[in-house]
């Protein structure tokens, strides 16, 4: 997938944007892990839409993370990206942390975001269904946490990877992890709740919520909570899918989006 760069004014952040496909505009906001190697969801979406997938500062070659400290910073930054891409009324899709950001954008700028798709978004906290602490997980634990099919998850997560015994690869791995999760921590650490629950009622966009039934990170109950709080929302639960629902069942997610919008 090809990428280009945006320079945001006035923050000066340099943003890497992946772009593919033709059709209606679709803005995709990734989760805390960034895009996957050979991202199956982006490939599926590009079969039907013109997909624009910017990387948050701290991810890939996007810079400017030091200037983003809290939820409002990130929300306004993402609205700046939307504006700089010159998109009008795109379908805004966000996965996990990206879903949290997309929901904030829709709550704050509800005339700008009129079609919203949240894939297992973060942002709420239910005391009786606490979310697992992703920041205390070791890399080998991630496939089973993010995928219903852990074997598939392991294959997808390590595609194009190297060996941890190679010092150069290890150093690069640690730097990437520190940049990405360091940025994500500003929204998700230690508890992924920055008050979104008090703002969800402001969302006027037609909203599609998609959840993997077997989500082991953010249980599917959270989907019901999002649906209750957003006025024009539909919830689709996908069978045999975990938190990385779009990677595990790209066709089902594409179908849900196509049918709804």
């Amino acid at each position: 997938m090809k990428s280009r760069f945006l320079r945001l004014k006035p923050s000066g952040a340099r943003i890497q944007v992946f772009e593919a496909g033709r059709g209606k505009d679709l803005l995709f906001l990734h989760g805390a892990g960034g895009h996957m190697p050979n991202d199956r969801l982006l490939a599926a979406l590009a079969g039907k839409y013109r997909v624009l997938a910017p990387l948050l500062p701290g991810y890939g070659q996007s810079t400017g993370e030091d200037g983003l400290r809290d939820m409002l910073d990130v929300t306004l930054h993402s609205l700046d990206v939307l504006e700089a891409l010159k998109l009008t009324k795109p379908i805004v899709v966000g996965h996990s942390m990206g879903g949290m950001i997309a929901a904030e954008m829709a709550a704050i700028a509800h005339t700008e975001v009129t079609r919203l798709c949240l894939l297992a978004p973060a942002g709420l906290w239910l005391d009786d269904r606490p979310i697992v602490d992703i920041f205390a997980k070791l890399p080998y634990e991630l496939p089973a946490l993010l995928f219903h099919d852990a074997e598939l998850g392991k294959k997808l997560l390590t595609a194009g990877g190297g060996s941890m015994d190679d010092p150069e690869f290890l150093k690069q791995f640690l730097v990437t992890r520190a940049r990405q999760l360091g940025m994500a921590g500003k929204l998700l650490f230690p508890i992924p709740d920055r008050g979104l629950g008090e703002r969800l009622h402001r969302i006027t966009a037609r909203t599609l919520i998609v959840w993997g039934r077997e989500d082991a990170l953010v249980p599917a109950t959270y989907g019901d909570a999002f649906k209750r709080a957003i006025s024009k929302a539909k919830l689709v639960k996908v069978a045999k899918a975990g938190h990385a629902v779009g990677q595990e069942k790209p066709a089902a997610v594409l179908k849900a989006i196509k049918n709804y919008f």
Binding site: E65, R69, F135, A136, K137, L138, P167, L170, K171, L174, V175, R177, A178, R179, Q180, L181, G182, M183, G185, K186, F189, P190, I191
Partner: protein, 410 residues
């Protein structure tokens, strides 16, 4: 040389199957294991040991801060230091230190440390650690990538609060105070000497140099493995063209002294094993929250620490631990020889002596400490004659005479 007798205050009753039953000594170990009524006696025994250290001639006595940690039972080292002001009169009270990014407002640290300095008559050494990731991020919820920025702002506020003679306004990103007004203020002006515990962050080297703070490497893996890190510090000192006073640096070392080498193993072996196998049993997922270390640090130094994490304490014998100098142990002669090597190779003026180890009973703690004080310490005193064995910038300035008290009406 300055020798500080340092306590970690571990819980000494972790069971034999601790490693099998629990994934970590820190962060998520259920406090069901802690027995408060037993804890009462343990706290007082530990405080007695610190007071004893002053009696036998240590220059300083040290405490530190940990949270949700069974080997470090001092969430508030200031409370411990405050009790020590009452029954000691000479030793420096080395509080190493307060994790200043954790307090809201951080002015609280300036106030409490000023209280300790006044109570002790100017004997406080103030430590400002960033804090481990376990304490700062996991136990106290500070966002990893913002920890250092918060720390820097807190440091700025504390130094200004100590130095000021009048109220001032402080408009920080994390702390906003209309009236900063530190009552009491410390006896030591403009501030007590400051020690910074560091773990190899390049930024910390410069921070110490810029502020004339002593860099303290608190490691449990002994002086042989500390060489690379300390060389990095001294290289930076040379690059910055500041003087090479050994008192710019300190090192923590686990030490066990007995009459003979064989006796040391017999007396201390089980307690050293308790320390390395139970106290240091930390779940790797809590060791380093992403964003806690800077990218620059990972690129330059942390990798060597990462590869070290492969070390396998459970399989290490007394021989491995002592020959690898994780632990300096043996007869007074053996300990003196190894300590001299430590002091010279790392070029340190401060040594933080860990003479209470794991679940060591009181009589053994005192035996080992007394042998160190009587038979080892005197022979290490004059290793830095060029510096007259003292550097005014990095040690306490106690008040000389008590000020006579008068009632207000006079």
């Amino acid at each position: 040389m300055k020798f500080t007798w340092f306590h970690l205050m571990p819980w000494p009753h972790m069971p034999d199957d601790f490693r099998q039953k629990h994934r970590s000594v820190w962060v998520d170990l259920p406090n069901r294991m802690y027995e408060p009524e037993r804890g009462h006696g343990i706290y007082h025994q530990y405080l007695d040991q610190l007071e004893y250290a002053e009696q036998i001639g240590f220059d300083g006595i040290g405490v530190n801060e940990h949270h949700a940690n069974a080997y470090g039972l001092m969430p508030s080292p200031n409370i411990m230091a405050a009790t020590l002001t009452r029954r000691t009169s000479k030793a420096a009270l080395v509080v190493l230190g307060n994790s200043i990014a954790l307090y809201n407002p951080p002015l609280r640290v300036a106030e409490e440390m000023a209280m300790i300095d006044v109570l002790s008559g100017g004997r406080l050494v103030a430590g400002f650690p960033v804090g481990t990731s376990m304490d700062t991020n996991y136990a106290y919820g500070t966002i990893p990538a913002l920890t250092r920025e918060k720390y820097a702002e807190a440091h700025d506020l504390i130094r200004k609060a100590w130095a000021a003679d009048e109220p001032f306004a402080f408009n920080g990103r994390y702390t906003k105070l209309r009236y900063v007004n530190c009552w009491p203020k410390p006896i030591q002006r403009p501030a007590p000497p400051v020690f910074i515990p560091g773990g190899g962050s390049v930024e910390t080297y410069d921070f110490c140099i810029d502020n004339t703070y002593s860099y303290s490497y608190l490691s449990y893996s002994g002086y042989l493995r500390a060489k690379l890190l300390m060389e990095g510090y001294w290289k930076r000192i040379a690059e910055r063209k500041v003087d090479e006073s050994p008192y710019r640096a300190g090192f923590a070392q686990v030490i066990c002294v007995a009459d003979t080498d064989a006796e040391a193993e017999k007396l201390f072996g089980p307690h050293v094993s308790y320390f390395y196998n139970r106290c240091l049993h930390v779940y790797p997922g809590f060791a380093d929250a992403p964003g806690y270390r800077t990218v620059k640090t990972i690129q330059t130094g942390a990798l060597s620490q990462f590869t070290q994490s492969g070390r396998d304490y459970p399989s290490m014998t007394w021989k491995d631990l002592t020959e690898g100098r994780y632990v300096v142990a043996g007869s007074p002669d053996t300990v003196r020889q190894q300590m001299e090597e430590l002091i010279r190779t790392l070029r340190v003026g401060n040594v933080f002596c860990l003479l209470h180890v794991g679940n060591m009973p009181d009589d053994k703690v005192r035996h080992s400490s007394r042998l160190f004080a009587e038979k080892v310490m005197p022979r290490l005193r004059n290793l830095w004659p060029d510096w007259n064995n003292h550097d005014d910038r990095f040690w306490i300035h106690p008040m000389h005479d008590p000020v006579t008290m008068r009632v207000a009406a006079e």
